[in-house]
Amino acid sequence: MAEPSMAAERSMAEILRRRAAASPDKLAFQFLLSDGAEGPRCTYVELDRQARSIATALRRITSPGERALLLYAPGLDFIPAFFGCSYAGVIAVPAYPPRPEQPWHGVEGLTRLTLDCRAGVVLTGGDYAADIERLCRPVAPLDGVPWLDTSDLTSAARGGWSREAEDPAAISHLQYTSGSTGNPKGVVVSHGNLMHNEYMIALCSGHFETAAAGICGVGWLPFQHDLGLVAGMLQAVYVGGPLVLMSPVTMLQRPYVWLEAISRYRGYTSGGPNFAYDQCVRRLSLEERASLDLSCWKVAGLGAEPVRVATMDDFAEAFEVSGFRREAFYPSYGLAEGTLMVAGGDRETQPPVVAVSTAALERNEVTVVSDTAADARLARTLVGCGYAWLDQQVLIVDPTARTPLPPARIGEIWVSGPSIARGYWNRPSDTQETFQARLNGVGEVPFLRTGDLGFFHEGELFITGRLKDVLIVRGQNHYPHDIELTVQGLDPALRSDAGAAFQTEGDAGERLVIVQEVLRPGKTFDADALARRVRQAVAEQHGIEVHDVVFVRHTTLPKTTSGKIQRHACKAAYEAGRLIPYVPKEPPRL
């Protein structure tokens, strides 16, 4: 069979219109309640009708090109609102509403985001619309901005279509990324970007075939996240296959409901970051695992952060009893600046795993160590995340000389192609620097600088770290991850993934600082003695002098929502003197 070609439509809005006309009563989305029972559902024709009502209402109060903030609780109400924006030529800006139990949490971020995109209208809807509006009252820039409750629109308008939705260069939405400095940046995604990336995802996941056979996917990631939006909601409409959805809260509280939904609906694709799989391993009983049939699950997506081999190993072992096969794991690489997907591998094969020498990594070189169970201090185990698809180009580039590097060399990952977003909203110099990079400074093709470091090995892309995190000491590269691992191996109270190594500017140049959380220290915990051992171990194993070691209480270092340490935020906290050293309650007896 010939490879399915890219859709002839120029935007996701046009695709939805086609589906509503061709298969109006086909199920598009089925939402599951927190106990897994079926909640609201919608067909293509219903989705199209709601989107048109919303577009009609939007056009009365906005003009094309304005930004609409989409503030929705988990559920289906977000979906017609997103398409309604597209129909009206309005730029959708998905954002998280403040949380009811932590109302102040999120207000500051939402304030900055609203200021940055200069939202002209807010869309909300569903059972929590009134609560969301109340929780947003402290967001000052929203004063005077009109609110539209999209579940309150009665008239099913016949019009609601705008020409802007047909222009592939027009902007579909802004995908906000938090950024390490807490300054939100809106990635400008065009209709053309989306069409290209959706096609890529469909091809490498096999979704054209599964959608044609009526096989569904199962999703729980929020629509505010590029994975939930692009790989979940929009992909389902692009290929025309049903998507079973649930709230992220459901998945976190009851991971069983997630896997049970895959088993019950015979889900083909589902996924999430490492912690989603880790939660399932930790929380499901053998009885629960044995009750599931996950043999249908052929694409278990793993993305959004470096893929851990242990996550795949533990999950595959625990859920073998459910018929899950390790080759279903589908690690991939992507980022919002690339619309989403940049690289993906072959389906239903074991994800490639290599162990590389840490010493060679420091020289920006790749030396594969044959023994994958090698000493963690001498070798790092990495998971391959595929290769470029279609007409996209992924290169490994020397970030200083801006020249392509040969295989087995580590450099910055540069990407070009139709999926690369237009830039950052209202940030011309950031856009120039990140989206318009040129090889040798003069190349004709603009490249996206991802800021990620990696290499190609046997055609597969491997990610080694973030460029801005790498510590350069006397011309040698050191990965903070490796130094942190050395520190965390010294004492059981120094937990993994709970420390940061970074450089700070001193009088005599860059100096290495280590901050590390302390969890349940033994009775003999002695911070000074341990700090001395840290200095010694880092000097012996990495050849670097440690300028300062700070132990802090557990859970006090800045982390992402998925529990990943934020090194730059740790550095900022350290430099601002905001880290409070850990003091044991009773001093150790001497």
């Binding site: 139990e101 509280q253 929380r283 625990a318 557990h554 859970t555």
Partner: protein, 107 residues
């Protein structure tokens, strides 16, 4: 390597209808584990939010509480019962009435 199971929650199953002090003790243990501080340092009369857990950890904690108690919450109980003391009293009361579906807004 160990085979994962629900026992990985490190705690024995809840008694049929746990008392407020048993629930309090469970919550203190959980908080103490999550924060790496001794149980004696966990305040039961202060709001749980603000103890250094992020929103994802709270959602997971509520899920583990449901799993341990064998009940379901219709809403996030921490909104109406923000401290360990008030939450434990409320839950013990609800469970003593034989409820398995607990609505925190209907105290």
């Amino acid at each position: 390597m160990t085979t994962p199971s629900a026992d990985n929650l490190d705690l024995p199953p809840a008694p049929k209808s746990p008392s407020a002090s048993e629930i309090r003790e469970w919550l203190v243990t959980k908080l103490s584990e999550a924060q790496g501080t001794p149980p004696s340092e966990i305040r039961t009369d202060a709001p749980l939010i603000g103890m250094g857990l992020d929103s994802m950890q709270f959602v997971v904690l509520v899920g583990e509480m449901e799993q341990w108690l064998g009940c379901r919450f219709t809403d996030n109980p921490l909104i109406d019962y923000p401290t360990i003391d008030t939450l434990a009293d409320f839950l013990a009361n609800q469970l003593a009435q034989g409820k398995t579906l607990i609505d925190p807004t209907q105290g």
